[in-house]
């Protein structure tokens, strides 16, 4: 039994370990603290890729924490979809961290950096755990860790807006986790199990006896994950939280944190709940209509924003709607599209927030109106912004088009072209609010008025990587799509 058997636990252990090490390291050996975090993230990423290879070779496998098999111990499960999720989380967070190292220097007080790294590692660790765990109560604990550390990386920047936003986020998060725990209690009441697979086995019999319990549990899960993932109309906390946070935190929150809950909802619907439940209760209907409303309203709200980061935050509400739409459409192609969008949006939205971060770093501007002519002074940043926006709209050659293609194809497959129309209308709305920014940035004749600080290379390289990623996943989407389609086989 080699060390690779323990990789699922090791990934989380490394990240949590770094979370504890970061503050003392920062205190006494400052120059090692950032490299330690980067190394830890890179190491876990390598292990995650190795896990994917293991799954591809030998199919899904489980890992029992401390050697205790379920129903007593916590079980981790690795299959294609979870490995995919894990890699997305780790890769994107590594990428954001490289950018963050420089950006944070001006956004935070110097002595808080160690704590930021700690919270960051905790956040990534909890998300990695949520991608892997196969136990409802473990998921609850990880959700709480995730909520605290996510609020932490917002409120660490001590200004009025951040504090208020993170409190709002915390309270609604607590409501979300409370609902989740109540839902788990409902399931536990009728099945006596907490392990996903065991619950799944016990549920069909339990549904016969206690149909109302299941109804309550599924409603609570939708409310809970909906709140956490900003599914319309439970999104109220998101715009403030994502807009006021330091830019790397915004990138992290918009790019990954809301996605992991969409993934969790997917797991609940397709792994924990038996198929018969989804067919008897129109859960999917609820999800897709809420998602559609989110797609439309997110875009409409984004159009009227004056603050760049707030606009990006509202845009996230629309974009997470695509992921939920894919999940709710209950069709292999659509779900593939949804999960592909999860990846693409993680890259492009993080990149857009990074661009906003660079603009704030270099010029201090947050208002969209003042961005006229900025393309001349910050060309790389604005090109990255252009490519990110193009992907949001779904211009050919970018990843956004591929995910929309799959979502639309899925919607047509089950005979509901109305959702294609919704996707297209929202793309148009995206164009309406992204295009003027780009046009003004490049086409303004008068000179850019504000002072411009030179942007360090360490902030620009991640942007270039992001651009490459968006275009790469727009052109060479085959491997990921194939992987996702294979991953879906065990769920549908």
């Amino acid at each position: 039994m080699g060390i690779d058997q323990h990789f699922p636990a090791l990934i989380i252990a490394i990240l949590f370990g770094i979370a504890f090490l970061s503050p003392p390291l920062f205190r006494w050996a400052r120059k090692f603290s950032a490299p330690a975090l980067i190394t830890g993230l890179a190491l876990s990423l390598i292990m995650a890729v190795y896990l994917l290879v293991l799954v591809l070779q030998g199919g899904e496998f489980t890992y029992h924490m401390g050697g205790w098999p379920p129903p007593w111990g916590v079980e981790f499960k690795v299959n294609l979809l979870r490995a995919y999720m894990l890699i997305v989380v780790l890769a994107v967070s590594l990428w954001i961290m490289v950018y963050a190292l420089k950006d944070l220097e001006h956004e935070l007080k110097k002595d808080l950096l160690g704590w930021y790294y700690s919270l960051y590692a905790l956040l990534v660790g909890s998300m990695a755990g949520m991608a892997l765990t196969n136990d409802l109560f473990n998921l609850f604990v990880l959700m709480e860790i995730c909520a605290i550390s996510a609020c932490g990386i917002i409120s660490i920047k001590e200004d009025r807006a951040c504090l208020e936003a993170s409190f709002k986020y915390l309270i609604l998060s607590a409501m979300g986790t409370g609902c989740f725990l109540l839902g788990v209690a409902m399931l536990y009441m009728v099945t006596g199990q907490l392990n996903y697979d065991l619950v799944n086995e016990a549920l069909p019999a339990a549904i016969e006896l206690y149909p109302n319990n299941m109804l309550a549990a599924s409603a609570l899960f939708i409310v809970s994950f909906g709140t956490k993932a900003a599914l319309f109309p439970l999104h109220v906390w998101l715009p403030d939280a994502h807009a006021s946070a330091p830019s790397p935190s915004s990138a992290m929150l918009s790019g990954l944190v809301i996605k992991i809950y969409a993934f969790a909802l997917f797991i609940m619907f397709y792994q924990v709940f038996p198929r018969s439940l989804l067919e008897s209760i129109p859960l999917n209907e609820i999800v897709i209509w809420l998602a559609s409303a989110g797609i439309m309203f997110g875009s409409i709200f984004a159009m009227v924003q004056v603050d760049l980061k707030k606009m990006l935050a509202y845009s996230s509400i629309g974009q997470i709607g695509y992921v939920f739409l894919g999940i709710g459409l209950d069709d292999t192609i659509a779900i593939t599209g949804g999960f592909y969008h999860l990846l693409v949006h993680a890259i492009m939205k993080s990149m857009l927030f990074m661009c906003a971060g660079v603009i704030i770093y270099s010029t201090g501007i947050r208002q969209i109106k003042q961005l006229g002519g900025i393309g001349q002074v910050l060309p790389v940043t604005m090109i990255a912004f252009t490519i990110g926006s193009a992907s949001m709209i779904g211009i050919p050659g970018t990843g956004g088009l591929i995910s929309k293609w799959y979502l639309a194809l899925g919607a047509l497959e089950i005979g509901r072209p109305i959702f294609v129309v919704i996707i297209l209308v929202s793309s148009l709305l995206n164009a309406v609010y992204y295009m003027p920014i780009i046009v003004n940035a490049f086409m303004q004749q008068e000179e850019f008025q504000h002072e411009v600080k030179p942007v360090p290379r360490q902030m620009l390289i991640p942007l270039v990587v992001g651009m490459a990623g968006v275009i790469f996943f727009g052109v060479f989407s085959r491997p990921v799509i194939t992987l996702l389609e294979n991953a879906m086989q065990i769920f549908l």
Binding site: I402, L424, L428
Partner: protein, 499 residues
């Protein structure tokens, strides 16, 4: 020329201008002369390479080649058949002339490097549209061209240009999304979007109708079809004149080309006719023709008048597509050629006048013909061709279209053609007649009074003269290559040889 060489040539035609773009862009900083020469050489080489494909096409060969699959059954592929060749040829030809014309026209303008780079890039993507082997590739190039040509539209960067450009951008994106929807439905119904299959959708179901409408919106938007023409009269006039010539002369045709492909490849004549969708197309075409011509009458800005005229002229192309018989399709194809030549000539001539005199209003142009005789003669020839005066090519296309309409027992369409010719005469003659015959002293703005205006340089004049000669040659000459090509295209499609 064997198939492998032909594929290599096609690839070269598409990629060469695109690869040249950054080179042209970066050259601008070092030497403007070299940059201009490079831009010109690019379009010239492309034009010559297109011509080398002529023997392949005349043999009646169809080249269809797939490079790689982006997604299962969704590939990047190229295709060369007679229709592609016709459009590629006329596009690269006009492009070359416009680039030559730009040399002097753009000499004192700002942002020359950007202009030439975009010009060259748009050439590549435009040819990519014509040579695409499936609807998805076509869509990719279509979006590329539409979005990049935005930079041409707003080149002047005035308030007005930005406003028009924004309208253009939004309409382009609406069109692109509609196209995307149409392609997705086609893919869903037929499992492929390749042009090599022919008649992908075999039944006129509700979903198929939706696809048809989406295609109509997507391509019709580009072609300036009513009611999606709103962006056109704003966007075309604000661009620099050579760019306007390309926008009106060539890029509008991508829409018509797309509809051609939709009618024959995504659907088939039977589906279109049994479901009566040709009537939708016909009615929209008639409205487009009459509306374009009627509104053109009221415009005083010369470039706006030309732009509205383009709307009307594209209506002819759509009309021919809705009739769907041999003569009508020949007329449509030939009108694509003629309109590309005539409208480029008109825009270039108008550009020359504006460049020299700074006047855009038609009412101020009395007597300009005496000061700039060559320019104005070219303008007049092209305008007469537009009206449809017999020996010119415009007459030939209208005549053939009219014959097609009569063959199909649609006398009303022939009547519409006549009325619109009359309207054309009504708005072109008031430009030409005062330009030559206005008496001295009749109007205080008259150009006859001013002495400091001379005709444009030979380099700008040459493209005008060549285009004007083309209108005469391809209307008059007994051996009319373009007309033959049009006839072949029409037969090629009607006899089902295109699969």
């Amino acid at each position: 020329m064997d198939e492998t060489t032909a594929i290599a040539v096609i690839l070269f035609i598409i990629l060469f201008p695109i690869i040249m773009t950054p080179i042209v862009m970066s050259m601008g900083g070092k030497s403007e002369k070299l940059r201009n020469a490079l831009a010109m050489a690019t379009s010239a080489v492309t034009f010559l390479m297109v011509f080398s494909l002529y023997p392949v096409v005349v043999r009646g060969d169809v080249i269809q080649h797939t490079f790689f699959e982006i997604l299962p059954n969704l590939e990047i592929s190229i295709r060369l058949d007679i229709l592609s060749f016709c459009l590629t040829a006329v596009a690269s030809f006009v492009w070359f002339l416009c680039t030559v014309y730009s040399l002097d026209y753009m000499a004192e303008e700002h942002g020359g490097s950007r202009y030439y780079a975009v010009l060259v890039f748009t050439l590549g993507s435009c040819l990519g549209i014509f040579l695409a082997g499936d609807f998805f590739t076509l869509f990719v190039f279509f979006e590329l061209m539409s979005l990049i040509s935005y930079i041409l539209v707003v080149h002047e960067e005035t308030e007005q240009a930005l406003k028009a450009g924004y309208k253009y951008l939004i309409m382009t994106i609406i069109g692109g999304l509609a196209l995307f929807f149409g392609i997705i439905i086609t893919f869903e119904l037929g499992g492929t979007v390749s042009l090599g299959v022919g008649a992908i959708i075999k039944e006129g179901t509700l979903l198929a109708l939706l696809a048809f409408i989406c295609f109509l919106v997507g391509f019709g938007m580009k072609a300036g079809m009513f009611p999606l023409h709103v962006w056109l009269p704003d966007a075309h006039p604000v661009a620099p004149s050579p760019a306007s010539a390309l926008l009106s002369g060539i890029m509008l045709k991508t829409g018509a080309y797309g509809l051609f492909r939709v009618v024959f490849h995504a659907f088939s004549i039977e589906v279109i006719q049994t479901s009566n969708w040709d009537i939708i197309l016909g009615v929209l075409a008639v409205i487009t023709i009459l509306l374009g011509s009627a509104v053109a009458l009221t415009q005083d800005d010369i470039k706006r008048r030309l732009a509205y005229s383009s709307v009307g002229q594209m209506g002819y192309v759509l009309l021919g597509l809705s009739v769907l018989n041999e003569n009508a399709l020949t007329g449509t194809m030939f009108h694509i050629f003629s309109h590309a030549i005539m409208k480029s000539c008109l825009f270039l001539a108008a550009g020359a006048i504006i460049w020299k005199t700074g006047k855009r209003q038609i009412s101020d142009m009395g007597g300009v013909g005496r000061k700039m005789p060559y320019t104005m003669v070219c303008f007049s020839i092209a305008a007469l061709a537009m009206i449809g005066i017999p020996p010119l090519n415009g007459f030939l296309s209208k005549w053939t279209l009219g014959l097609g309409a009569l063959d199909a027992n649609l006398t009303i369409y022939a009547l519409v053609l006549l009325i619109s010719s009359l309207l054309n005469a009504l708005y072109y003659l008031p430009i030409i007649v005062p330009a030559f015959f206005e008496m001295v002293g009749e109007n205080e703005h008259s150009f006859a009074l001013r002495s400091n205006i001379q005709d444009v340089t030979p380099r700008m004049l040459a493209p005008l003269v060549i285009l004007a000669l083309c209108t005469i040659v391809f209307g008059l000459s007994p051996i009319n290559v373009l007309f033959d090509l049009s006839r072949w295209t029409s037969l090629f499609f009607l006899e089902g040889g295109f699969m």
